[in-house]
Symmetry: D2
Subunit: 133 residues, 4 copies
C-alpha cells in the first residue's frame, strides 16, 4: 500500500548551490510518515503523552536529481516491513512525470521515550498498517 | 558588557539566492545567547529539569548586508535590560572589519515550561548578568 | 485583502522545549508570501532568472502563544504598504478558533540580485497586488 | 587520515522528543567536510565561481545514541575512497568518552554545477587528500 503526500519547495529548503539542501529530503520523508499516521487517526502527540515515540534508527538515501525552488513534488511512502518494535519504509520524492529526485529506506523504531529503549509498537498502529497493506 | 561568539556560514545556512536565509540569523543569535549562559556556568539543560525555560517573546531584526557561504563572522551580544522575568538583548552579526550584517533586539522571557507562564529569573542568573555588566 | 495559507507543524519545527522553535515562524511566513505570489501567477524562479529577488530587510515578531507538534494552523497575510522598491506585510499565525500564535511585520525589498541593490518592483507584480487590494 | 571538528548542540538542533532531530546529523557531517576542505586551503566559494560543486549522492546513516541539547561533541571524518569524480567519507559523531551517537557513509560527487553533470575532481584537491592519507 502506498501513501502519497505533496511537498512544495521553498527558499528555506534550498542552498547556495541553487538546489534543495541534501538533509531536507529527510524532513520531507518525515512529514510524509507523520501525515500517514495522521490519516490513520494516529496522533504522535498522544503517543508522546504515553511515553511512546518513533525514532529513525537507520536511513539510506539516494540523491538522484536535484530538486529546485518552487517545484511541486510528491512523496510516495510504502511500508515494506512491520516488526514487533520497528518499521521499514521505502519512500520516494517524485514529480508529476514520475521523475525520481530522492529515494530512501528508513528504519523507524518504537521506543519508550523516557528510557530511550525499544518497545512493542502499539497494537492499534499495527492493525492500521496491516489494514493498509 | 559584551559577549562575542564566532559563527561560520555553511551550505545549510544559505538559500538559492546565494546568501544566508533570513531566519537563520535568529539561530546565530540564539547560539550566542546559549554560549553566553554556558560561559557563566549556566546550563539550560539543568534549568529545563527544574521546569525553567527561556523563550523568545519579541524580536526585531534589521538585515543590513547579506552574509555568504564560508564567511567567518562574530555575534556581539549585549544585555540592555534585566527585568524580573525577562531580558532584552541587542545582538549584531559582524565581520572582522566591523561590517554589520544583521542587528537584532531580542526580548527573552523566563517561564515555567509546564504552564508556559512567566516566572522570576533565577537569582544566580541575575547575579551573573549583574556581575557581567 | 487577505491571503491565507495552511501550515502543519512537524517534528522538524519543534525544539527540546516541546514547542515550535522561534525562527521557524519566519519560515512559515515566507512560505505564505511565496504561495501568495504563486496564486497571482508570479514565479520567483523566473524572477531570479531575470536577476530579480525579494529579500527580507526588516522583521518584527511577536511570539504570543507557543505552537506545538501536529497542530494545523493558518497564516493570514496582508499587504499594508506597496512602495516603489519594497513591500510591507502584516502576517499572523492562527488556529481555527482565531487564537494568534505569532504576529509579524515583514519588510521585503526588491533587489537586483547580482548587485544586491534595490530596484523597482516589476509592474505586473505591482498590478497584481493592486488588484488584490 | 582523520579530521576532527567540534559540534555544539543548540535548541535549533533538537525536536519535541527532547533529542537532536535526525536530519541535523547530516548537517553536522557537512560542516565537518567543509571545514576539512577549508583546513586544506580549499574554498568552496571559489570552486562555485568556477562552476564546480560537491554534492551528496548517497548517504547511509546509523543513529546509535540520541544526542541532546548543550552536548559538546566531535565529528571524526575519514576519506575511504578517492575516485576520479567522487569521494567516499566515513564520519562519526562522538563524545569525549568515545561514545558514538551517529555514523555515516557519505558519497560526494564533483559536478559541473550549471549542467549538474559529473566532472573530475580538481587535481589540487586530489593532491591535498592524497597528502592527507
Amino acid at each position: 500500500m502506498m501513501f502519497t503526500w505533496p511537498i512544495s519547495i521553498y527558499y528555506e529548503d534550498t542552498d547556495a548551490g541553487g538546489v534543495v539542501y541534501h538533509s531536507n529530503y529527510l524532513n520531507f520523508f518525515e512529514r510524509a510518515r507523520t501525515e500517514w499516521l495522521k490519516a490513520m487517526g494516529i496522533k504522535q502527540t498522544e503517543l508522546l503523552a504515553d511515553d511512546i515515540a518513533f525514532v529513525v534508527k537507520h536511513a539510506e538515501l539516494d540523491f538522484k536529481v536535484a530538486a529546485r525552488f518552487e517545484q511541486n513534488l510528491i512523496v510516495e511512502s510504502e511500508l515494506t516491513e512491520l516488526k514487533k518494535a520497528s518499521l521499514i519504509f521505502k519512500q520516494r520524492l517524485l514529480d508529476d512525470n514520475g521523475v525520481s529526485y530522492c529515494e530512501a529506506t528508513i528504519v523507524v523504531a518504537c521506543i519508550a521515550l523516557s528510557r530511550m529503549r525499544p518497545r512493542a509498537i502499539p497494537s492499534n498502529i499495527v492493525q492500521e498498517f496491516n489494514r493498509a497493506s
